[in-house]
């Protein structure tokens, strides 16, 4: 059943496009899309463009995670830091991060730093918030027990606080990676001249629809692989936590 419905939909699409019930110009049959995908990898630059998107994603994710996790932990443990930083996060978190792109392009010029940073900012807020929540929602009894057994300072942090917050941190990283991918692809669609997002845009403009759907499917596969992969990794690494939830 899990495979039957997607396969059935694809077969239906193939049939309708072949019989020209739907316009094959706008909705090319899946077989032509997959041919275009294979051609793109073997003869075209699809592999290269995928790599461009993945590189941007990796840089954005690293740029976000490295400051966000310590900041979230610090905010959770030091009240004045939390008080001082929280207003900015509360105001900026619900803002569409793509709206920051023009500002970054003015500051840094139209180029990689602005594109990558837009993705990084998208992930940064999510990771900070999740990490903070991880520290704030930890069972206070754990802290008491740790203290009673003489854990203090660095030891209390590495043995009690960090392990307790780790599931939330991991969830934040996973959600952050997904948000960074969304932002990077959107930036490519809007402003960049390379990457999978740009491919969708370019093939849309030239109406080379098989290639357009190919790039589109590739983005979907990438998103699925990253989110599902990380969730599986999370379940394996953090066996003591509850189900990480589906969103």
């Amino acid at each position: 059943m899990a495979l039957a419905v997607p396969l059935g939909l694809l077969a239906l699409w193939e049939l309708l496009a072949r019989l020209a019930v739907v316009s094959p110009r706008y909705f090319p049959p899946p077989s032509r899309v997959s041919t275009a995908l294979v051609d793109g990898f073997t003869e075209g630059d699809l592999g290269g463009e995928t790599l461009v998107t993945l590189t941007r994603l990796a840089l954005a994710f690293a740029l976000a995670a490295v400051p966000a996790v310590p900041l979230g932990l610090l905010m959770g443990m030091v009240r004045p830091v939390r008080e001082a930083v929280e207003p900015y996060i509360a105001v900026l978190f619900p803002v569409p991060k793509i709206a920051l792109l023009p500002f970054l392009m003015i500051l840094l010029g139209v180029g990689e730093p602005a594109f990558v940073l837009t993705g990084a900012i998208s992930a940064f807020f999510q990771i900070t918030i999740s990490t903070l929540a991880g520290v704030q929602t930890m069972d206070p009894r754990l802290l008491d027990v740790g203290r009673n057994y003489g854990a203090q300072g660095a030891r209390l942090f590495t043995r009690v606080i960090l392990p307790a917050a780790l599931p939330a941190i991991f969830t934040g990283l996973r959600l952050g990676l997904g948000l960074a991918l969304v932002a990077i692809v959107a930036v490519e669609f809007i402003a960049a001249k390379s990457g999978l997002g740009h491919l969708v845009y370019r093939h849309w403009q030239t109406l080379s629809t098989p290639q357009m759907y190919g790039a589109f499917a590739l983005v979907g596969a990438l998103g699925l692989l990253l989110t599902r992969g990380l969730r599986a990794l999370q379940a394996r690494m953090l066996v003591w936590q509850e189900d990480p939830g589906r969103l």
């Binding site: 008080e83 900015y88 803002v95 709206a99 023009p102 003015i106 809007i190 990438l222």
Partner: protein
């Protein structure tokens, strides 16, 4: 944020830090430490915001954005709740649609624009349908979860007391799933704003996203900041306003996203 005495004494940093930042920014731009071309003074931005409001520019761009968000949200809410309820109730439908949704959901909504523009007339309809896409999945997912997490004992008890069909649905299943549905709606509304701005940047001549982009293209930096301020305010109103509304409507249920 209660106003009881002592709140300010307790949270003075939360007030002082933004105020200090704004004053520092103002001074730094005024004395030339920050380039005013890139970082206009907050007071200059406010003057430009006022001008945008009084000459009607802001309204002319905010109204299309609001109506698109409204249309997309209504579309996503109706279709999402219906799909989610159906998926929660019928296992076969859920198992069939799950893999389809799993592939489509992580795709950034703005990429749907080409596809949607083949399906429906270009222009307003395409913008609204594209904006609705991601919100629809969020609402459908959370609604499905909402139905599935209802305690089977409750359903069984209702059945024993003779509730079935429509009655079982309105008296047990819908209220049981409601906290999840409202969380999905809240997240979906937030997403509608995120997507509408991106979609307007790509293919609209009106709307807050378009205004931001046009201001960038002609390097009206002050207008960019002013527009950003409006978008940020809209984001705050949509996400925190709905959270407050939710707390009022469902005082017994914690927000699912905060668990």
């Amino acid at each position: 944020m209660s106003r009881r005495p002592g709140w300010l004494a307790q949270h003075w940093l939360a007030v002082a830090s933004p105020v200090a930042l704004l004053i520092g920014w103002e001074v730094a731009s005024a004395v030339g430490l920050l380039r005013e071309a890139f970082f206009p003074r907050p007071s200059t931005v406010l003057i430009h915001l006022r001008r945008l409001v009084t000459d009607g520019t802001l309204l002319a761009h905010a109204l299309p954005t609001l109506s698109r968000i409204g249309g997309a949200f209504a579309l996503a809410a109706i279709l999402g709740v219906a799909t989610g309820l159906a998926m929660g109730l019928w296992r076969r439908l859920r198992e069939g649609l799950d893999p389809v949704f799993a592939v489509i959901y992580p795709i950034p909504s703005v990429l749907f624009l080409p596809l949607v523009s083949f399906l429906v007339p270009r222009g307003e309809t395409a913008l609204i349908v594209t904006t609705a896409a991601t919100s629809f999945f969020l609402v459908a997912f959370t609604t499905t979860e909402g139905v599935r997490q209802i305690d089977p004992l409750v359903v069984e008890a209702a059945r024993h007391y003779g509730a079935r069909g429509r009655r079982l649905f309105t008296a047990v299943l819908l209220p049981g799933a409601l906290p999840f549905i409202l969380t999905g709606l809240r997240l979906g509304l937030g997403y509608a704003l995120i997507v509408v701005v991106a979609v307007e940047i790509v293919s609209a001549s009106r709307g807050l996203g378009a205004l931001l982009w046009l201001s960038w293209q002609v390097l009206k930096v002050e207008d960019m900041y002013a527009t950003f301020l409006v978008i940020a305010a809209l984001g705050a109103v949509l996400s925190y306003g709905l959270a407050v509304l939710r707390a009022r409507l469902l005082p017994w249920a914690q927000d699912v996203a905060e668990r």
